[in-house]
Symmetry: D2
Subunit: 281 residues, 4 copies
Amino acid sequence: MRFAFFGDVVGRAGRDALAEHLPGLKRKLDLEFVIINAENASAGFGVSENSARQLFDAGADCLTLGNHSWDQKEALTYIVREPRLIRPINYPPLADAPGRGANLFETASGKRILVMNVLGLVNMASMDDPFAAVDKQLESCPIGMACDAIVVDMHAEATSEKMAMGHFCDGRATLVVGTHTHVPTGDHQILPGGTAYQTDAGACADYDSVIGMDKEEPLRRFTTRIGKERYRPASGPATICGVYVESDDRTGLATRIEPIRIGGRLSQSIPSLKVAEFQAG
Amino acid sequence: MRFAFFGDVVGRAGRDALAEHLPGLKRKLDLEFVIINAENASAGFGVSENSARQLFDAGADCLTLGNHSWDQKEALTYIVREPRLIRPINYPPLADAPGRGANLFETASGKRILVMNVLGLVNMASMDDPFAAVDKQLESCPIGMACDAIVVDMHAEATSEKMAMGHFCDGRATLVVGTHTHVPTGDHQILPGGTAYQTDAGACADYDSVIGMDKEEPLRRFTTRIGKERYRPASGPATICGVYVESDDRTGLATRIEPIRIGGRLSQSIPSLKVAEFQAG
Amino acid sequence: MRFAFFGDVVGRAGRDALAEHLPGLKRKLDLEFVIINAENASAGFGVSENSARQLFDAGADCLTLGNHSWDQKEALTYIVREPRLIRPINYPPLADAPGRGANLFETASGKRILVMNVLGLVNMASMDDPFAAVDKQLESCPIGMACDAIVVDMHAEATSEKMAMGHFCDGRATLVVGTHTHVPTGDHQILPGGTAYQTDAGACADYDSVIGMDKEEPLRRFTTRIGKERYRPASGPATICGVYVESDDRTGLATRIEPIRIGGRLSQSIPSLKVAEFQAG
Amino acid sequence: MRFAFFGDVVGRAGRDALAEHLPGLKRKLDLEFVIINAENASAGFGVSENSARQLFDAGADCLTLGNHSWDQKEALTYIVREPRLIRPINYPPLADAPGRGANLFETASGKRILVMNVLGLVNMASMDDPFAAVDKQLESCPIGMACDAIVVDMHAEATSEKMAMGHFCDGRATLVVGTHTHVPTGDHQILPGGTAYQTDAGACADYDSVIGMDKEEPLRRFTTRIGKERYRPASGPATICGVYVESDDRTGLATRIEPIRIGGRLSQSIPSLKVAEFQAG
Ligand SMILES: [Fe+2]
Ligand SMILES: [Fe+2]
Ligand SMILES: [Fe+2]
Ligand SMILES: [Fe+2]
Ligand SMILES: [Fe+2]
Ligand SMILES: [Fe+2]
Ligand SMILES: [Fe+2]
Ligand SMILES: [Fe+2]
């Protein structure tokens, strides 16, 4: 199975870049499934129904969220109607959070892919144990048996917690990929047990910015500690950042992971489909 | 000028990999100066005189530190004798911190390179303003005039604070590179004003680990919240991670930045010296 | 029912002051039950079996813990044998934490008192939701029916989270009292629903100190950011700090709460038993 | 000299209670100077010119601020015109913060009192070292010589940092009092060197609340992690909380500190002026 995951889309620049590059990439890589983290899709804060639709139109099959899930209040009701929108799974029991934290999708060719979104705890918002929440999902849906692929979007700040989640899921998930820091990491690898891993997918954003936001206000706050304006997404050409993964449908484990960085300022990384694979697909 | 910067060395695996790969790389890339962040060089915590010597022997010209500077108490006295060891610059005035937070080095060919180490504040130890501390150095040593290159090691957790530091120094430093997260980022670029930038250099460490540490104890603490043993560095083959930079000696600004990832599990990235450059050097 | 709760005992000074003052106070106030937070009883860090015994000998019927529960490793096995020792209740499911987070005690006169210890999340160690964990206990043991009194030790940093826990339990617990900050608060009150509340019980410690620790090292670290020695408990005369509570055995709700501050430097507050109550008792 | 300090005023309930109780208390205690922390005076967030005037009319001679200083943007310009408004002193050098962090006032009888406001760092906003900032003020204005009294408003979260500030100033200031937690502490004392100290003055607020705010929304957020509405100040009768201090004008050191808690739900504490003192005054 061939699929891709893209990190936090920041505002219009990110949405536009996905609309520009994603359709061609899907064809080129013969992607069966595309997941995009959309927690910053609407003007940098949360996701509106309108922004979500643009991402679905660009080729997303599933959108994940994070600590900014509800910055646009309409997301609280939109998610109830939209099963392709996935919020963090580790809300505490009294939260009665709307929507779902994991969902099993069926691709056009009939493959089943489980996607979940989970919030880390280190230097983040307080949530219940992300490891226990993920464990419960992995145990109830054994990879290679109950589904063909499992993707864990580990939305977290600390590299330690993300790497720990990678190892925790190793051999039980197809891909563990981090989001939230808005910077792609260069540590993509297949862990010893067969799970593809990258600490952060990076943002789909203009990288002449501060994590996708126009530089001026963040610089003011860092140097003076006194804010003046709201943060606004930077509007220059965005780089869409993510990972491309190939997996073995018999085991559900990964056979390849490559970084994707297309457009904008960052060094470009565009996976290529080998001919043999394409024919076999 | 051609120089390289390597991120946090974690224990023996990191030191050994540098001893193995760095001498050849220096020759291959004709490096004039090598900086290594050594805050985790001694068994993962701080730097001893012995560990520092191994890194100098491997080819380091300068070692930087971070929030783990004094984990080995001997570093408090060693740094007073060793001007090539640089600790964070933004201690508060009452600290009377030993050693220095910045130093101007002269290379074999007579070029002058200013290196400083600074601690970020977001989700880190409390220190005085890193921006003001760096600003003071940059203003007192104008690049291209009082020195040929300036390197800022921004030892910080948050990607936002690191990117802000990059822009803050843009046009005034040759390289702003982050350390501390122990994961290399894939966002190397030359900022609009001419400063090379990468959010994190990554660690020189075994990447089948949790940020360079043996997986078992971190996984135990994340899942149970009850520690059992000390953290120990992972002992598998390390990847040395860093950046290679070329700068224009007339302006001090960067003309090229490439990631370095050699050895171990991560995808390899080895810059090559173009023939013309080598002759011109 | 008449009972007392004392906050974090810090080292020998705190243990000695309890040994000196508690036996007389139990007689004077005709206390049926005494709870002491012991997370700092052993040299300021955790609780050993030996320290626990001194507190039981002084008159404690139950000891609670906190974020320092396991600083003395022997507590991990001691707690399995000692049902009077209560650790935080909100460990995540994978923790399999030793001991118990709540226990129902029977007093000499046959009254049943449920005691639980819970860790707050704001600026503390990561744990599962404290509100959900407490809710489960309160629902399974209705006050005035399944027991005569319920005490919630809310071990937390933030005053907001502690006050929220007070209101969350109001009408369902006899006492919600905070621990962890090592400073008694002056806000004891009976909440609208009948639950006695004080944001922090305060420490049983020498108050010529920094939260019970010898001043020198904390002052050094605050002013220089560079530690030199371990923290040691201050050794001057301690003030034992806590609250005295009277409750209605028919409802389990509180009818009186008074602060206790005896010995040492702080202004003294010693509740007195009214004659009528004593006879009725 | 006799003066009083009141902690964070939360919204209208706090302002009204001060208007009701402060004028009489000033007469009764023959107060020469009154300081009020006003960082939450305007609907719980920051201070407007209008709110400040109400507090001056109620009897304040000086208002201090904190981490909420600029929640009302008009405060950024108002403070430039109003020397009786004091913001945190430890902004970094590049901040160029408006207004002042310390001011020397002269009372009607010609006594000089220096008031400063400083932000703690532990679990708070990042600022430059509070100890260095306070030290500079204390050294430039020796108590008993350059002024008759010095008050340090230590606006901080952690009890440890506040107690450390108390000891740091001991013998050099008349009063070190904490603010920010919105809960009065019961640990008022005169430190060994003669400085009056209380970890937190407490809020001037309705205590049937979560730190002065209406309970509903904080409880929702704590239990569900999903916000619904803005925080609003609780509107029940407020308790005004603070400390009353008497000092020796020859030395500037404290001779007495008593808690003040008047009105509302908390146990009342109203200092009384001894006849002999009144005549001596
Ligand atoms: Fe994001
Ligand atoms: Fe996020
Ligand atoms: Fe570090
Ligand atoms: Fe490090
Ligand atoms: Fe604690
Ligand atoms: Fe404690
Ligand atoms: Fe505050
Ligand atoms: Fe406040």
